[in-house]
Amino acid sequence: MGRRYSRLRADLNILEISLSSSYRFPLLEGLAFLYLFFPIVFAPLIRAPYVCQFVSYAFGLPVFLTQILILVNLAYSVASEIESGLTQTYITYPVKRADFILIKILVGLGVPITLLALAEAIVTYMAFSVVGFSLDELFFSILASLGQLVMFALVFLTISLLIKKGGLALGISIALWFILSIAISIFSLFVYFSGIKEFFYLSALLNPTNIVNAYYAKGSSVLPGGIVVEPTFTEMVLVLLGHYAINIVLLAIIIAYFMRRFEP
């Protein structure tokens, strides 16, 4: 019992240190303010009759900023700490390696993503409460908008763990971010021009916003030749689950690597 308690205390201490070093006052407060301020100010300019479209358009900039924040956070709180030997010190504490990496993920990814999801929920509720919307549309739209962000963040984390140098990890992550974004865009273009529905589902595994839009904004996803992509609810949920399954596998690989192979 005493051992578990001390481990919990150590976990909490690391969590506290990580939080205060990654988000010095008033970074988090300012971020929360901006996440809500800009979408509300610009919301009247957005012509999006559906929740899924509104979330995509209104939160384009906050999602981009979150991506940068996660990138910098992981490079400096993971790679730089490995470089300076701090991680080695941490894992000599009575703390499990899995706990340690999960705390880093929680602080680096969990906090900004939770804040973004909260902002998306509040602004969308305000914008659509008079018109009416379904909770499942809101839930799946938010889930879809965060999916790719989580996927990229896990790739950045892998790079930080492998490179072990803050500046270099940051540079490589930025380069990879551009490469991945361009590759996904090219793939989406290929899917569009191929006109094959199955490819659409495949591309939605990488960018689930497409399938949520296709389901809720019925008829909005039209491939050349007038082929309308109209997924069923089950298909949409399956693609979203598939996308998050990829993320979970990535996360499991990272944790397994950190527990078994990682040498600080």
Binding site: E16, L19, Y23, F25, P26, L28, E29, G30, A32, F33, L34, Y35, L36, F37, F38, I40, V41, F42, A43, P44, L45, R47, A48, P49, Y50, L115, L118, A119, I122, Y125, M126, A127, S129, V130, V131, G132, A217, K218, G219, S220, V222, V228
Partner: protein, 207 residues
């Protein structure tokens, strides 16, 4: 427990920031800049402006005219975008039918009847250079604003020089209803830490 409450005060600060962002952004948000989509009609009697909207709920319509005119606002074009998202609302609003109906009318009464037969609700405003009215509905796809110069028997139209439609998609009441409880929660969560921070600041200043 007290220590944990003070440490968790950052959450309170974040919650307060969220509430302040909602309040400030609501006050500063862009007005709906829906201009006129279709305004080059040259009919004999009435000038009309047709504005189509996607899904909005409340319109504060301001019409400033180049000269004193009678305003007829004809509202209620069903919101086709909800039903047929593939088809652009511009295609669904039958402009030519509206224009034809308006063009053949010579009196306000005729205009009202013509528009009501097209399933539109007509709202009349008094004569003047400046007209303002609000309309609320969940099922609006568009709005027609017609102006007529009452000084002439067979009035030639004068354009509405400016028609601003403010679709309030983030109504202030909702912003207040949302942000006040959030602000209250934030204050409760942050109180301990705020007191602690102020005390620390005062100590620093004393030194």
């Amino acid at each position: 427990m007290m220590r944990l409450y003070i440490k968790a005060g950052r959450i309170g600060y974040v919650v307060i920031s969220i509430a302040l962002a909602i309040l400030l952004a609501t006050a500063l948000r862009f007005p709906m800049p829906y201009g006129t989509d279709y305004n080059e009609m040259s009919r004999e009697y009435f000038a009309i402006e047709i504005i189509h909207l996607d899904r909005f709920y409340r319109y504060d319509v301001e019409v400033e005219l180049s000269k004193s005119c009678h305003l007829v606002a004809c509202i209620y074009i069903p919101n086709y975008t909800r039903t047929y998202p593939l088809i652009d609302v511009e295609m669904m609003i039958n402009y030519s039918a509206i224009v034809e109906a308006v063009a053949n009318c010579t009196t306000l009464e005729e205009l009202k009847d013509a528009l009501e037969s097209m399933n539109m609700t007509a709202v009349y405003a008094a004569t003047g250079n400046y007209h303002k009215f609000s309309y609320e509905s969940k099922d609006i796809g568009g709005i027609v604003v017609a102006t007529v110069n009452p000084d002439r028997d067979a009035p030639q139209f004068r354009y509405a020089s400016r028609v601003n439609v403010y679709a309030i998609i983030l109504p202030s009441e909702i912003a207040y209803k949302t942000s006040i409880p959030i602000l209250a929660l934030g204050i409760v969560l942050a109180a301990g830490r705020a007191v602690h921070d102020v005390k620390r600041l005062l100590l620093k200043l004393k030194r």
